[in-house]
Amino acid sequence: MGKATETDLPGVGVRFDLETNAGRAVGVVVHQTGRRDLVIYDERDVDRACESVELTEDEGHTLGELLGGNPVLEHLDDVVHRLEDLVISWVKIDSKSSLAGLTLAEAGLRAQTGAGVMALVTDSGSIPIPGGADRLEAGATAVVVGVPVAVKAATKLLTQSG
Protein backbone atom coordinates (compact mmCIF):
# COMPACT_ATOMS: atom_id res chain seq x y z
CA MET A 1 0.00 0.00 0.00
CA GLY A 2 0.99 3.59 -0.28
CA LYS A 3 3.03 3.05 -3.40
CA ALA A 4 2.84 5.73 -6.06
CA THR A 5 2.81 4.82 -9.74
CA GLU A 6 4.50 6.95 -12.35
CA THR A 7 3.51 7.96 -15.90
CA ASP A 8 5.43 10.11 -18.37
CA LEU A 9 3.64 13.08 -19.88
CA PRO A 10 5.62 13.82 -23.06
CA GLY A 11 6.54 17.49 -23.26
CA VAL A 12 5.02 18.22 -19.84
CA GLY A 13 6.68 16.16 -17.13
CA VAL A 14 5.71 13.19 -14.98
CA ARG A 15 2.53 12.24 -13.18
CA PHE A 16 2.45 10.23 -9.94
CA ASP A 17 -0.73 8.51 -8.81
CA LEU A 18 -1.65 7.15 -5.43
CA GLU A 19 -4.77 5.28 -4.49
CA THR A 20 -5.78 5.58 -0.85
CA ASN A 21 -7.04 2.73 1.29
CA ALA A 22 -10.43 4.39 1.29
CA GLY A 23 -10.57 4.15 -2.50
CA ARG A 24 -9.91 7.76 -3.48
CA ALA A 25 -7.20 8.55 -6.01
CA VAL A 26 -4.83 11.50 -5.76
CA GLY A 27 -1.97 12.48 -8.01
CA VAL A 28 0.87 14.89 -8.42
CA VAL A 29 1.97 16.26 -11.80
CA VAL A 30 5.60 17.34 -11.74
CA HIS A 31 6.16 19.73 -14.63
CA GLN A 32 9.52 20.12 -16.35
CA THR A 33 9.46 23.72 -15.18
CA GLY A 34 9.36 22.64 -11.51
CA ARG A 35 5.70 23.51 -11.11
CA ARG A 36 3.62 20.87 -9.32
CA ASP A 37 -0.08 20.20 -9.61
CA LEU A 38 -1.83 18.45 -6.76
CA VAL A 39 -4.66 16.53 -8.37
CA ILE A 40 -7.70 14.84 -6.86
CA TYR A 41 -9.64 12.37 -8.96
CA ASP A 42 -13.38 12.24 -9.31
CA GLU A 43 -15.16 9.38 -7.52
CA ARG A 44 -17.60 8.88 -10.36
CA ASP A 45 -15.05 9.09 -13.16
CA VAL A 46 -11.72 7.94 -11.75
CA ASP A 47 -9.81 9.19 -14.80
CA ARG A 48 -10.92 12.78 -14.35
CA ALA A 49 -9.05 15.27 -12.21
CA CYS A 50 -11.92 17.08 -10.56
CA GLU A 51 -9.61 19.32 -8.56
CA SER A 52 -6.18 20.55 -9.59
CA VAL A 53 -4.13 22.87 -7.38
CA GLU A 54 -1.08 24.53 -8.86
CA LEU A 55 1.97 24.67 -6.56
CA THR A 56 5.44 26.15 -7.00
CA GLU A 57 8.41 23.90 -6.30
CA ASP A 58 8.82 25.42 -2.82
CA GLU A 59 5.14 25.10 -1.98
CA GLY A 60 5.37 21.46 -3.04
CA HIS A 61 8.25 20.87 -0.62
CA THR A 62 6.35 22.54 2.21
CA LEU A 63 3.25 20.48 1.55
CA GLY A 64 5.39 17.33 1.44
CA GLU A 65 6.83 18.12 4.85
CA LEU A 66 3.40 18.90 6.29
CA LEU A 67 2.08 15.57 5.06
CA GLY A 68 4.85 14.00 7.08
CA GLY A 69 7.08 11.04 6.57
CA ASN A 70 10.62 10.92 5.40
CA PRO A 71 10.37 10.60 1.66
CA VAL A 72 13.90 9.20 1.49
CA LEU A 73 12.95 6.09 3.44
CA GLU A 74 10.03 5.44 1.14
CA HIS A 75 12.16 4.83 -1.91
CA LEU A 76 14.96 2.78 -0.49
CA ASP A 77 15.67 1.00 -3.73
CA ASP A 78 18.18 2.44 -6.14
CA VAL A 79 18.19 5.88 -4.66
CA VAL A 80 21.46 7.66 -5.20
CA HIS A 81 22.09 11.22 -4.12
CA ARG A 82 25.04 13.18 -5.38
CA LEU A 83 26.87 15.75 -3.26
CA GLU A 84 29.74 17.31 -5.23
CA ASP A 85 31.91 14.23 -5.91
CA LEU A 86 30.49 12.16 -3.06
CA VAL A 87 27.66 9.71 -3.53
CA ILE A 88 25.18 8.46 -0.96
CA SER A 89 23.45 5.24 -1.81
CA TRP A 90 20.83 3.13 -0.06
CA VAL A 91 21.87 -0.51 -0.43
CA LYS A 92 19.68 -3.40 0.64
CA ILE A 93 21.94 -6.10 2.09
CA ASP A 94 21.37 -9.36 0.26
CA SER A 95 21.52 -12.71 2.02
CA LYS A 96 23.79 -13.91 -0.80
CA SER A 97 26.46 -11.41 0.25
CA SER A 98 29.42 -12.92 2.07
CA LEU A 99 29.31 -9.90 4.38
CA ALA A 100 25.70 -10.51 5.48
CA GLY A 101 25.51 -11.24 9.19
CA LEU A 102 29.03 -9.93 9.93
CA THR A 103 29.67 -6.96 12.19
CA LEU A 104 31.03 -3.86 10.55
CA ALA A 105 34.43 -4.53 12.14
CA GLU A 106 34.50 -8.09 10.74
CA ALA A 107 33.32 -7.01 7.32
CA GLY A 108 36.01 -4.35 6.93
CA LEU A 109 34.00 -2.66 4.21
CA ARG A 110 35.80 0.67 4.48
CA ALA A 111 39.24 -0.93 4.33
CA GLN A 112 38.23 -2.99 1.27
CA THR A 113 36.39 -0.38 -0.75
CA GLY A 114 36.93 3.07 0.73
CA ALA A 115 33.20 3.56 1.28
CA GLY A 116 31.77 3.95 4.77
CA VAL A 117 28.41 2.92 6.23
CA MET A 118 26.68 6.04 7.51
CA ALA A 119 23.55 4.36 8.86
CA LEU A 120 21.79 0.99 8.99
CA VAL A 121 18.04 0.84 8.53
CA THR A 122 16.28 -2.32 9.71
CA ASP A 123 12.66 -3.26 10.25
CA SER A 124 13.07 -2.83 14.00
CA GLY A 125 14.62 0.62 13.74
CA SER A 126 17.59 2.48 12.36
CA ILE A 127 21.13 2.88 13.65
CA PRO A 128 22.70 6.22 12.73
CA ILE A 129 26.53 6.18 12.59
CA PRO A 130 26.89 2.46 13.43
CA GLY A 131 29.94 1.24 15.34
CA GLY A 132 32.20 -1.76 14.72
CA ALA A 133 29.94 -4.08 16.71
CA ASP A 134 26.79 -3.39 14.68
CA ARG A 135 25.81 -6.12 12.29
CA LEU A 136 25.11 -6.02 8.54
CA GLU A 137 21.92 -8.07 8.76
CA ALA A 138 20.57 -9.49 5.52
CA GLY A 139 17.45 -7.53 4.54
CA ALA A 140 18.60 -4.35 6.30
CA THR A 141 19.49 -1.27 4.29
CA ALA A 142 22.94 0.24 4.56
CA VAL A 143 23.35 3.92 3.80
CA VAL A 144 26.74 3.96 2.08
CA VAL A 145 28.78 7.08 1.43
CA GLY A 146 31.96 7.59 -0.58
CA VAL A 147 33.32 8.47 -4.00
CA PRO A 148 31.33 6.79 -6.81
CA VAL A 149 33.84 3.97 -7.45
CA ALA A 150 33.98 3.08 -3.74
CA VAL A 151 30.20 3.09 -3.36
CA LYS A 152 29.90 0.90 -6.44
CA ALA A 153 32.37 -1.61 -5.01
CA ALA A 154 30.63 -1.60 -1.61
CA THR A 155 27.23 -2.08 -3.26
CA LYS A 156 28.59 -5.09 -5.13
CA LEU A 157 29.96 -6.65 -1.95
CA LEU A 158 26.69 -6.11 -0.09
CA THR A 159 24.40 -7.41 -2.80
CA GLN A 160 26.29 -10.17 -4.62
CA SER A 161 27.89 -13.43 -3.55
CA GLY A 162 31.65 -13.93 -3.72
Binding site: R15, E19, E43, D45
Partner: protein
Protein backbone atom coordinates in the same frame (compact mmCIF):
# COMPACT_ATOMS: atom_id res chain seq x y z
CA UNK B 1 5.22 63.86 -46.74
CA UNK B 2 3.93 60.36 -47.41
CA UNK B 3 6.36 57.62 -48.14
CA UNK B 4 5.83 53.97 -48.94
CA UNK B 5 7.21 53.03 -45.56
CA UNK B 6 4.60 55.14 -43.72
CA UNK B 7 1.88 53.32 -45.56
CA UNK B 8 3.52 50.01 -44.69
CA UNK B 9 3.62 50.85 -41.00
CA UNK B 10 -0.02 51.96 -41.01
CA UNK B 11 -1.16 48.78 -42.75
CA UNK B 12 0.83 46.50 -40.52
CA UNK B 13 -0.34 48.30 -37.40
CA UNK B 14 -3.95 48.01 -38.49
CA UNK B 15 -3.61 44.28 -39.27
CA UNK B 16 -1.94 43.53 -35.93
CA UNK B 17 -4.61 45.52 -34.09
CA UNK B 18 -7.36 43.56 -35.81
CA UNK B 19 -5.57 40.38 -34.70
CA UNK B 20 -5.45 41.74 -31.17
CA UNK B 21 -9.20 42.30 -31.23
CA UNK B 22 -9.95 38.79 -32.49
CA UNK B 23 -7.51 37.29 -29.94
CA UNK B 24 -9.43 39.05 -27.16
CA UNK B 25 -12.71 37.92 -28.62
CA UNK B 26 -11.49 34.31 -28.82
CA UNK B 27 -10.41 34.45 -25.20
CA UNK B 28 -13.74 35.90 -24.15
CA UNK B 29 -15.69 33.06 -25.74
CA UNK B 30 -13.14 30.40 -24.77
CA UNK B 31 -12.04 29.31 -28.24
CA UNK B 32 -8.61 29.09 -29.89
CA UNK B 33 -7.62 32.22 -31.79
CA UNK B 34 -6.16 30.39 -34.80
CA UNK B 35 -9.38 29.96 -36.80
CA UNK B 36 -10.17 33.63 -36.29
CA UNK B 37 -6.72 34.62 -37.57
CA UNK B 38 -7.42 32.54 -40.67
CA UNK B 39 -10.73 34.35 -41.11
CA UNK B 40 -8.96 37.71 -40.86
CA UNK B 41 -6.56 36.57 -43.57
CA UNK B 42 -9.45 35.43 -45.75
CA UNK B 43 -11.19 38.77 -45.33
CA UNK B 44 -8.09 40.67 -46.43
CA UNK B 45 -6.10 40.70 -49.63
CA UNK B 46 -7.16 39.77 -53.15
CA UNK B 47 -10.86 39.29 -53.41
CA UNK B 48 -11.30 40.29 -49.79
CA UNK B 49 -12.65 43.42 -48.15
CA UNK B 50 -9.37 45.36 -47.99
CA UNK B 51 -6.19 45.00 -49.99
CA UNK B 52 -2.79 45.32 -48.40
CA UNK B 53 -0.53 46.64 -51.16
CA UNK B 54 2.30 47.83 -48.92
CA UNK B 55 2.61 45.11 -46.31
CA UNK B 56 1.96 41.86 -48.19
CA UNK B 57 5.65 41.36 -48.82
CA UNK B 58 6.50 41.75 -45.15
CA UNK B 59 3.65 39.45 -44.14
CA UNK B 60 5.02 36.82 -46.50
CA UNK B 61 8.48 36.97 -44.91
CA UNK B 62 6.92 37.15 -41.44
CA UNK B 63 4.90 34.04 -42.24
CA UNK B 64 8.06 32.13 -43.07
CA UNK B 65 9.60 33.19 -39.75
CA UNK B 66 6.33 32.24 -38.04
CA UNK B 67 6.53 28.64 -39.26
CA UNK B 68 10.15 28.40 -38.15
CA UNK B 69 9.41 29.77 -34.68
CA UNK B 70 6.34 27.53 -34.21
CA UNK B 71 8.36 24.45 -35.05
CA UNK B 72 11.36 25.54 -32.99
CA UNK B 73 9.15 26.02 -29.93
CA UNK B 74 7.46 22.69 -30.55
CA UNK B 75 10.86 20.98 -30.75
CA UNK B 76 11.90 22.66 -27.50
CA UNK B 77 9.08 20.85 -25.69
CA UNK B 78 10.79 17.53 -26.30
CA UNK B 79 14.23 16.06 -25.88
CA UNK B 80 15.49 13.47 -28.33
CA UNK B 81 15.42 10.84 -25.58
CA UNK B 82 11.80 11.55 -24.79
CA UNK B 83 10.81 11.30 -28.45
CA UNK B 84 12.52 7.96 -28.93
CA UNK B 85 11.08 6.50 -25.69
CA UNK B 86 7.65 7.65 -26.70
CA UNK B 87 7.82 6.06 -30.14
CA UNK B 88 8.75 2.75 -28.54
CA UNK B 89 5.79 2.93 -26.18
CA UNK B 90 3.05 4.23 -28.39
CA UNK B 91 3.73 2.84 -31.85
CA UNK B 92 0.33 1.18 -32.01
CA UNK B 93 -1.60 4.36 -31.20
CA UNK B 94 0.43 6.10 -33.90
CA UNK B 95 -0.39 3.42 -36.48
CA UNK B 96 -4.12 3.55 -35.68
CA UNK B 97 -4.02 7.34 -35.95
CA UNK B 98 -2.36 7.22 -39.37
CA UNK B 99 -4.58 4.42 -40.68
CA UNK B 100 -7.78 6.22 -39.68
CA UNK B 101 -6.99 9.83 -40.47
CA UNK B 102 -4.73 9.93 -43.51
CA UNK B 103 -7.03 8.04 -45.93
CA UNK B 104 -10.05 10.41 -45.64
CA UNK B 105 -8.06 13.38 -46.94
CA UNK B 106 -6.14 11.35 -49.51
CA UNK B 107 -9.26 9.73 -50.96
CA UNK B 108 -11.13 13.04 -50.96
CA UNK B 109 -8.22 14.62 -52.83
CA UNK B 110 -8.37 11.94 -55.52
CA UNK B 111 -12.16 12.22 -55.79
CA UNK B 112 -11.86 15.98 -56.21
CA UNK B 113 -9.50 15.36 -59.12
CA UNK B 114 -6.33 16.69 -57.50
CA UNK B 115 -2.87 15.43 -58.54
CA UNK B 116 -1.89 12.37 -56.48
CA UNK B 117 0.79 14.39 -54.70
CA UNK B 118 -1.76 17.08 -53.80
CA UNK B 119 -4.05 14.32 -52.51
CA UNK B 120 -1.14 13.15 -50.35
CA UNK B 121 -0.95 16.69 -48.99
CA UNK B 122 -4.67 16.69 -48.21
CA UNK B 123 -4.16 13.34 -46.43
CA UNK B 124 -1.51 15.05 -44.32
CA UNK B 125 -3.90 17.93 -43.60
CA UNK B 126 -6.54 15.53 -42.21
CA UNK B 127 -4.00 13.29 -40.47
CA UNK B 128 -2.33 15.77 -38.20
CA UNK B 129 -3.98 17.24 -35.12
CA UNK B 130 -2.74 20.51 -33.73
CA UNK B 131 -0.21 19.94 -30.94
CA UNK B 132 -0.35 23.63 -30.11
CA UNK B 133 -4.11 23.95 -29.81
CA UNK B 134 -4.66 20.60 -28.12
CA UNK B 135 -1.89 21.11 -25.56
CA UNK B 136 -3.29 24.53 -24.75
CA UNK B 137 -6.84 23.20 -24.40
CA UNK B 138 -5.64 20.46 -22.03
CA UNK B 139 -3.79 22.99 -19.88
CA UNK B 140 -6.55 25.64 -19.94
CA UNK B 141 -9.18 23.13 -18.83
CA UNK B 142 -6.92 21.81 -16.02
CA UNK B 143 -6.88 18.33 -17.49
CA UNK B 144 -3.14 17.69 -17.35
CA UNK B 145 -3.63 15.31 -14.42
CA UNK B 146 -6.37 13.32 -16.17
CA UNK B 147 -5.57 9.71 -16.93
CA UNK B 148 -6.31 10.01 -20.65
CA UNK B 149 -3.91 12.93 -21.08
CA UNK B 150 -0.76 10.79 -21.65
CA UNK B 151 -2.64 9.01 -24.45
CA UNK B 152 -3.43 12.35 -26.10
CA UNK B 153 0.11 13.66 -25.71
CA UNK B 154 1.65 10.46 -27.07
CA UNK B 155 -0.44 10.61 -30.22
CA UNK B 156 0.52 14.24 -30.74
CA UNK B 157 4.22 13.48 -30.28
CA UNK B 158 4.08 10.63 -32.80
CA UNK B 159 2.32 12.88 -35.30
CA UNK B 160 4.95 15.58 -34.88
CA UNK B 161 7.67 13.00 -35.47
CA UNK B 162 5.81 11.64 -38.49
CA UNK B 163 5.94 15.16 -39.93
CA UNK B 164 9.72 15.06 -39.67
CA UNK B 165 9.66 12.27 -42.25
CA UNK B 166 6.57 13.37 -44.19
CA UNK B 167 7.55 16.98 -44.95
CA UNK B 168 10.91 16.17 -46.58
CA UNK B 169 9.28 13.44 -48.67
CA UNK B 170 6.45 15.62 -50.01
CA UNK B 171 8.75 18.61 -50.55
CA UNK B 172 11.11 16.34 -52.44
CA UNK B 173 8.30 15.07 -54.66
CA UNK B 174 6.72 18.51 -55.13
CA UNK B 175 9.87 20.39 -55.98
CA UNK B 176 11.98 17.58 -57.46
CA UNK B 177 12.43 17.00 -61.18
CA UNK B 178 12.44 13.58 -62.81
CA UNK B 179 11.54 10.37 -60.96
CA UNK B 180 15.19 9.45 -60.51
CA UNK B 181 16.32 12.82 -59.19
CA UNK B 182 13.29 12.96 -56.89
CA UNK B 183 14.07 9.54 -55.47
CA UNK B 184 17.65 10.59 -54.89
CA UNK B 185 16.60 13.87 -53.22
CA UNK B 186 14.09 12.15 -50.97
CA UNK B 187 16.53 9.42 -49.96
CA UNK B 188 19.32 11.89 -49.26
CA UNK B 189 17.00 14.14 -47.29
CA UNK B 190 15.71 11.29 -45.15
CA UNK B 191 19.26 10.15 -44.41
CA UNK B 192 20.16 13.72 -43.43
CA UNK B 193 17.10 14.05 -41.17
CA UNK B 194 17.87 10.77 -39.40
CA UNK B 195 21.57 11.68 -39.08
CA UNK B 196 20.72 15.09 -37.62
CA UNK B 197 18.23 13.59 -35.16
CA UNK B 198 20.87 11.02 -34.18
CA UNK B 199 23.41 13.79 -33.69
CA UNK B 200 20.85 15.68 -31.58
CA UNK B 201 20.41 12.55 -29.48
CA UNK B 202 24.15 12.23 -28.91
CA UNK B 203 25.44 15.80 -28.84
CA UNK B 204 22.38 17.85 -27.87
CA UNK B 205 23.73 18.51 -24.37
CA UNK B 206 27.00 19.91 -25.65
CA UNK B 207 25.29 22.07 -28.26
CA UNK B 208 22.99 23.45 -25.56
CA UNK B 209 25.94 24.24 -23.32
CA UNK B 210 27.67 26.15 -26.12
CA UNK B 211 24.57 28.15 -27.01
CA UNK B 212 23.71 29.03 -23.40
CA UNK B 213 24.54 32.58 -22.39
CA UNK B 214 23.88 34.69 -19.30
CA UNK B 215 22.85 37.62 -21.48
CA UNK B 216 19.29 37.15 -22.68
CA UNK B 217 20.04 39.41 -25.64
CA UNK B 218 22.96 37.25 -26.73
CA UNK B 219 20.94 34.09 -26.17
CA UNK B 220 18.00 35.35 -28.24
CA UNK B 221 20.26 36.35 -31.12
CA UNK B 222 22.12 33.04 -30.97
CA UNK B 223 18.92 31.02 -31.02
CA UNK B 224 17.25 33.05 -33.73
CA UNK B 225 20.33 33.27 -35.93
CA UNK B 226 21.25 29.63 -35.52
CA UNK B 227 17.73 28.38 -36.15
CA UNK B 228 17.08 30.59 -39.17
CA UNK B 229 20.40 29.59 -40.70
CA UNK B 230 19.88 25.89 -40.10
CA UNK B 231 16.24 25.96 -41.20
CA UNK B 232 17.19 27.91 -44.30
CA UNK B 233 19.84 25.38 -45.26
CA UNK B 234 17.36 22.57 -44.62
CA UNK B 235 14.89 24.32 -46.92
CA UNK B 236 17.57 24.72 -49.58
CA UNK B 237 18.14 20.95 -49.43
CA UNK B 238 14.36 20.36 -49.83
CA UNK B 239 14.21 19.09 -46.25
CA UNK B 240 11.70 21.84 -45.45
CA UNK B 241 12.55 24.74 -43.20
CA UNK B 242 9.90 23.55 -40.72
CA UNK B 243 11.71 20.26 -40.14
CA UNK B 244 15.04 22.06 -39.80
CA UNK B 245 13.63 24.31 -37.07
CA UNK B 246 11.98 21.40 -35.27
CA UNK B 247 15.24 19.46 -35.16
CA UNK B 248 17.07 22.46 -33.68
CA UNK B 249 14.42 22.63 -30.95
CA UNK B 250 14.74 18.93 -30.20
CA UNK B 251 18.55 19.14 -30.04
CA UNK B 252 18.45 21.85 -27.39
CA UNK B 253 17.95 20.54 -23.88
CA UNK B 254 18.63 21.39 -20.26
CA UNK B 255 18.85 24.89 -18.77
CA UNK B 256 18.69 26.61 -22.12
CA UNK B 257 15.16 25.37 -22.80
CA UNK B 258 13.31 27.37 -20.16
CA UNK B 259 15.27 30.55 -21.01
CA UNK B 260 14.64 30.01 -24.71
CA UNK B 261 10.91 29.49 -24.22
CA UNK B 262 10.56 32.72 -22.30
CA UNK B 263 12.50 34.68 -24.91
CA UNK B 264 10.91 33.20 -28.00
CA UNK B 265 7.28 32.98 -26.92
CA UNK B 266 6.33 36.62 -27.65
CA UNK B 267 8.04 36.46 -31.06
CA UNK B 268 6.38 33.15 -31.84
CA UNK B 269 2.95 34.51 -30.94
CA UNK B 270 3.39 37.50 -33.26
CA UNK B 271 4.83 35.69 -36.25
CA UNK B 272 2.56 32.64 -35.98
CA UNK B 273 -0.44 34.97 -36.16
CA UNK B 274 1.16 36.62 -39.20
CA UNK B 275 1.55 33.18 -40.78
CA UNK B 276 -2.14 32.34 -40.43
CA UNK B 277 -3.11 35.73 -41.86
CA UNK B 278 -0.75 35.19 -44.76
CA UNK B 279 -2.25 31.80 -45.49
CA UNK B 280 -5.71 33.37 -45.49
CA UNK B 281 -4.45 36.12 -47.80
CA UNK B 282 -3.38 33.58 -50.39
CA UNK B 283 -6.77 31.93 -50.46
CA UNK B 284 -9.16 33.30 -53.04
CA UNK B 285 -12.46 33.73 -51.22
CA UNK B 286 -14.27 33.16 -54.49
CA UNK B 287 -13.22 29.50 -54.31
CA UNK B 288 -14.79 28.92 -50.89
CA UNK B 289 -18.33 28.15 -52.10
CA UNK B 290 -16.94 25.53 -54.50
CA UNK B 291 -15.10 23.67 -51.77
CA UNK B 292 -17.58 24.20 -48.92
CA UNK B 293 -19.42 20.91 -49.35
CA UNK B 294 -16.20 18.94 -49.65
CA UNK B 295 -14.77 20.67 -46.57
CA UNK B 296 -17.84 19.86 -44.48
CA UNK B 297 -17.91 16.22 -45.60
CA UNK B 298 -14.20 15.70 -44.90
CA UNK B 299 -14.63 17.50 -41.58
CA UNK B 300 -17.50 15.28 -40.46
CA UNK B 301 -15.66 12.11 -41.48
CA UNK B 302 -12.42 13.06 -39.74
CA UNK B 303 -14.17 14.28 -36.59
CA UNK B 304 -15.44 10.70 -36.37
CA UNK B 305 -12.07 9.10 -37.20
CA UNK B 306 -10.09 11.33 -34.83
CA UNK B 307 -12.61 10.65 -32.09
CA UNK B 308 -12.21 6.92 -32.74
CA UNK B 309 -8.40 7.27 -32.58
CA UNK B 310 -8.52 8.81 -29.11
CA UNK B 311 -11.22 6.41 -27.95
CA UNK B 312 -9.23 3.33 -29.05
CA UNK B 313 -5.98 4.63 -27.56
CA UNK B 314 -7.63 5.41 -24.22
CA UNK B 315 -9.44 2.07 -24.15
CA UNK B 316 -6.11 0.29 -24.60
CA UNK B 317 -4.84 2.20 -21.60
CA UNK B 318 -7.81 0.83 -19.59
CA UNK B 319 -9.45 4.22 -19.27
CA UNK B 320 -13.20 4.52 -18.67
CA UNK B 321 -15.69 5.74 -21.22
CA UNK B 322 -15.81 9.40 -20.16
CA UNK B 323 -12.01 9.50 -20.41
CA UNK B 324 -12.11 7.81 -23.82
CA UNK B 325 -14.56 10.43 -25.02
CA UNK B 326 -12.29 13.20 -23.75
CA UNK B 327 -9.26 11.66 -25.51
CA UNK B 328 -11.27 11.35 -28.72
CA UNK B 329 -12.57 14.90 -28.60
CA UNK B 330 -9.15 16.32 -27.73
CA UNK B 331 -7.58 15.03 -30.93
CA UNK B 332 -10.13 16.66 -33.24
CA UNK B 333 -8.63 20.16 -33.31
CA UNK B 334 -6.42 20.67 -36.36
CA UNK B 335 -4.27 23.71 -36.83
CA UNK B 336 -0.78 24.89 -37.57
CA UNK B 337 0.60 21.74 -39.19
CA UNK B 338 -2.40 21.27 -41.45
CA UNK B 339 -1.89 24.81 -42.68
CA UNK B 340 1.87 24.32 -43.08
CA UNK B 341 1.17 21.26 -45.25
CA UNK B 342 -1.53 22.95 -47.33
CA UNK B 343 0.79 25.92 -47.85
CA UNK B 344 3.20 23.59 -49.70
CA UNK B 345 0.62 22.79 -52.35
CA UNK B 346 -1.27 26.04 -52.61
CA UNK B 347 0.53 27.14 -55.77
CA UNK B 348 -0.03 23.75 -57.39
CA UNK B 349 -3.74 23.53 -56.58
CA UNK B 350 -5.52 26.72 -55.51
CA UNK B 351 -8.57 24.78 -54.28
CA UNK B 352 -6.35 23.11 -51.68
CA UNK B 353 -5.81 26.40 -49.87
CA UNK B 354 -9.50 27.24 -49.63
CA UNK B 355 -10.38 23.67 -48.69
CA UNK B 356 -7.73 23.47 -45.96
CA UNK B 357 -8.69 26.87 -44.53
CA UNK B 358 -12.37 25.93 -44.30
CA UNK B 359 -11.52 22.46 -42.95
CA UNK B 360 -9.18 23.73 -40.25
CA UNK B 361 -11.65 26.39 -39.13
CA UNK B 362 -14.43 23.79 -38.78
CA UNK B 363 -12.28 21.20 -36.99
CA UNK B 364 -10.63 23.61 -34.61
CA UNK B 365 -13.90 25.10 -33.49
CA UNK B 366 -15.65 21.71 -33.31
CA UNK B 367 -12.70 20.15 -31.46
CA UNK B 368 -12.48 22.93 -28.90
CA UNK B 369 -16.21 22.82 -28.19
CA UNK B 370 -16.47 19.01 -28.06
CA UNK B 371 -13.44 18.68 -25.78
CA UNK B 372 -14.80 21.29 -23.38
CA UNK B 373 -18.24 19.77 -23.21
CA UNK B 374 -17.38 16.06 -23.57
CA UNK B 375 -17.85 15.58 -19.83
CA UNK B 376 -21.27 17.11 -19.73
CA UNK B 377 -22.25 14.88 -22.63
CA UNK B 378 -20.92 11.60 -21.23
CA UNK B 379 -21.42 12.19 -17.51
CA UNK B 380 -24.99 13.30 -17.88
CA UNK B 381 -25.95 10.19 -19.78
CA UNK B 382 -25.49 7.13 -17.58
CA UNK B 383 -26.29 4.99 -20.60
CA UNK B 384 -23.01 6.05 -22.17
CA UNK B 385 -21.01 5.42 -19.00
CA UNK B 386 -19.56 2.18 -17.77
CA UNK B 387 -21.92 1.56 -14.85
CA UNK B 388 -19.40 -0.27 -12.71
CA UNK B 389 -17.11 2.72 -12.98
CA UNK B 390 -19.98 5.05 -12.29
CA UNK B 391 -20.59 3.30 -8.98
CA UNK B 392 -16.86 2.94 -8.60
CA UNK B 393 -16.06 0.36 -5.92
CA UNK B 394 -12.51 0.78 -4.78
CA UNK B 395 -11.58 -2.83 -5.42
CA UNK B 396 -12.47 -2.56 -9.06
CA UNK B 397 -10.81 0.79 -9.47
CA UNK B 398 -7.60 -0.59 -8.02
CA UNK B 399 -7.53 -3.55 -10.37
CA UNK B 400 -8.06 -1.24 -13.30
CA UNK B 401 -5.33 1.11 -12.30
CA UNK B 402 -2.89 -1.78 -12.13
CA UNK B 403 -3.80 -2.90 -15.58
CA UNK B 404 -3.21 0.60 -16.81
CA UNK B 405 0.28 0.47 -15.45
CA UNK B 406 1.35 -2.65 -17.17
CA UNK B 407 0.17 -1.19 -20.45
CA UNK B 408 1.59 2.28 -20.34
CA UNK B 409 5.00 1.64 -18.83
Amino acid sequence: MHTASDLFVIELGAVVLVLAIVARLARRIGLPALPLYLLVGLALGDGGLVELPASTEFIEVGAEIGVILMLLMLGLEFSAHELIDNVRRSTLAGVVDLALNFPPGFVAGLLLGFDPIVAVLLGGVTYISSSGIVAKLVADLDRIGNHETPVILSVLVIEDLAMVLYLPIVSGVLFGGSLLSTTVTVTVSLIVVIAVLGAAYLFGDRLSAIALSQSSEALLLTLLGGTLLFAGIAGRLNLSTAVGAFVVGVALSGDIVSHARGLLLPLRNLFAAVFFVFFGLQVDIGLLPDVAVAAVVIAVVTIATKFATGWIGARRAAIGKPGRARAGAALIAHGEFSIVIAELGITRESDLGALAAAYVIILTLAGAVLYQYSDSITLRAPRGVDRRRWQGTSRLAKGQSKRRWSLTR
